[in-house]
């Protein structure tokens, strides 16, 4: 079972306590943006086979949102961090690099 550490309340939460919220760090495009940008924002997801950044909500716990870095191929969790950020903190990136050498952060759509 997937277990994520909630950085908001400090609990190690099991999957049944959590609600998945899709890809994190989306760049938002609204009124006035081009059709292509709006389309990508709405529908295009990174969907990587490997390192993935995603939003989770501690739904049956503190109720707050946070982010997790996870591998979709091995279900390994690299770490969780606050949702109040536009890119993962350095220690998360370091943790991923330690396990996935050569990995690079890229701007998500």
């Amino acid at each position: 079972m997937l277990i994520l550490h909630c950085p908001c309340c400090g609990v190690d939460a099991e999957e049944t306590e959590l609600a998945a919220g899709g890809e994190a760090h989306l760049k938002r495009f609204g009124p006035g943006s081009s059709d292509d940008d709006f389309h990508d924002y709405l529908f295009m997801r990174e969907n990587p086979k490997g390192v993935h950044f995603e939003r989770w909500r501690h739904a049956n716990g503190c109720g707050k949102w946070f982010h997790a870095a996870r591998c979709t191929q091995t279900l390994e969790v690299f770490g969780t961090y606050s949702a109040q950020t536009t890119e993962p903190p350095q220690e998360i990136k370091d943790a991923i690099t330690a396990k996935r050498p050569g990995w690079t952060w890229r701007e998500f759509s």
């Binding site: 998945a20 899709g22 292509d36 529908f43 969907n47 086979k49 995603e54 996870r70 279900l75």
Partner: protein
């Protein structure tokens, strides 16, 4: 290809079954093909088959990373139905269901199509309205379905408990001509027919790159070397996104795990397929007597072909309320498959930004039932550049806002 028949069985019985030949050849790839299909699952093989049969294009290779039919074709719960709300979905699924009816005769391979009837239970007021609406839509689409009362449900499924405290059965959408088929046999039958037409099915050969010149596809890099082609069809279910990336475009898809499980064999107790979408569970009894149960999907991206345990627990818990007699059944096997989901839960059958390259994917949780129709439409699209069956499922529907919104129409289970 030697014809299978009762006579052939008798003939082989007399000579100790020494005369059977392999159902399909396993050749080394040629240097060049007119069409390459990536993915030897049901959809890929059906596409190749109808390219050959309907359009005479027989210089075709079907390339497969693993083994033939070893992906979602061999992992589904084998349900076939076409009671969809939206017109484009009803059209392609009904085409598929119609083709399934005489597929065994056409392929000379017993796919064990069993039109035993598919019942979708309404367990909330919302579902009653939804399924009555679907029944009316189906009447207009020429798909034969009907709304039936709880009493009729009980007649058809004596083992059902109509008045469960949490999930009472309030009626059902009934499609008499829906049913099941032997999923592996569908892939094997198409593979045998393709091979007999001279097509090459190349297993254990992974595509590692898509070669292009001036915006046009010219071939693929594989673990067995470069293979040239005029046209390329990507039909790979869970890994559609990875293949699209090789071809230089992106798809509005996310991969998640969908699970199923199967019980120990028991005596015949239920001769229809029952789906309960409110509780994400569906069940049918296989010819061996096993209860085949399909569950829900995980909420997160997953490429592991195994899902979370609590989804099984939820599915089984709800089914036990509706079918109390299964409460002591032992489960034999559980497995997961990677399904690629689009935003509107409808597939993508489309041309792509790369000329000569076509995509067939995004079937999400409902691909098996569509195999013949999907292959038929995809073959037409690849051969002629246009197909009325696939038109509405084009890649640009998201940008143009033409959703085929089955996520609302059909609930979650496909």
């Amino acid at each position: 290809m030697k014809h299978y028949s009762a006579f052939a069985v008798a003939r082989e019985a007399l000579r100790y079954h020494t005369g059977w030949e392999r159902a399909w050849r396993s050749p080394e790839p040629k240097k060049r093909y007119d069409v390459i299909i990536v993915g030897a699952g049901g959809h890929g093989l059906a596409t190749a088959y109808y390219l050959g049969k309907n359009y005479g294009i027989q210089n075709v290779a079907v390339i497969e990373k693993g083994w033939l039919g070893g992906g979602n074709t061999g992992r589904n719960t084998t349900i076939i139905r076409s009671n969809y709300l939206q017109d484009p979905s009803a059209a392609i699924y009904e085409k598929a269901r119609g083709l399934y009816e005489d597929l065994s005769q056409e392929l000379n391979y017993n796919i064990m199509f069993s039109p035993r009837g598919v019942m979708m239970l309404a367990q909330t007021q919302h579902e009653i309205r939804g399924y009555q609406r679907t029944a009316h839509a189906n009447a207009l689409q020429g798909v034969k379905t009907e709304w039936i009362t709880p009493e009729r449900v009980k007649e058809l499924v004596p083992i059902i408990n109509l008045d469960g405290p949490r999930y009472p059965v309030l009626g059902a959408l009934w499609q008499e001509r829906g049913g099941t088929a032997r999923h592996d046999a569908v892939a094997w039958g198409y593979a045998r027919a393709c091979s007999a037409m001279g097509m090459d099915i190349i297993q254990q050969c992974e595509v590692t790159g898509v070669r292009q010149e001036n915006g046009r596809v010219v071939g693929v890099d594989t673990t067995k070397g470069v293979i040239d082609c005029d046209k390329l069809g990507i039909v790979v279910a869970g890994h559609s996104g990875q293949l699209a990336e090789m071809a230089g475009f992106r798809l509005p898809l996310e991969a998640i795990a969908l699970q199923a499980l199967v019980s120990e064999p028991i005596k015949p107790c239920m001769d229809v397929v029952v789906m309960a979408n409110t509780v994400h569970g569906y069940m049918s009894q296989s010819d061996k007597g096993e209860m085949v149960i399909g569950g829900g999907t995980d909420g997160f991206n997953n490429f592991t072909q195994r899902g979370s345990f609590h989804h099984i627990e939820e599915t089984v818990r709800a089914l036990v309320e509706t079918f109390p007699m299964i409460s002591r059944l032992k489960m034999l096997r559980q497995w997961g498959g990677i399904v690629d989901m689009t935003g509107d839960r409808s597939p993508i059958l489309s041309k792509t930004p790369l000329q000569g390259c076509f995509i067939n994917g995004g079937w999400g949780t409902g691909g098996f039932k569509a195999i013949p129709g999907s292959g038929w439409g995809m073959a037409q699209l690849m051969a002629t550049g246009h197909s009325p069956l696939t038109e509405a499922f084009s890649l640009d529907r998201f940008k143009e806002g033409r959703f085929i919104d089955e996520s609302v129409a059909a609930g979650v289970a496909h």
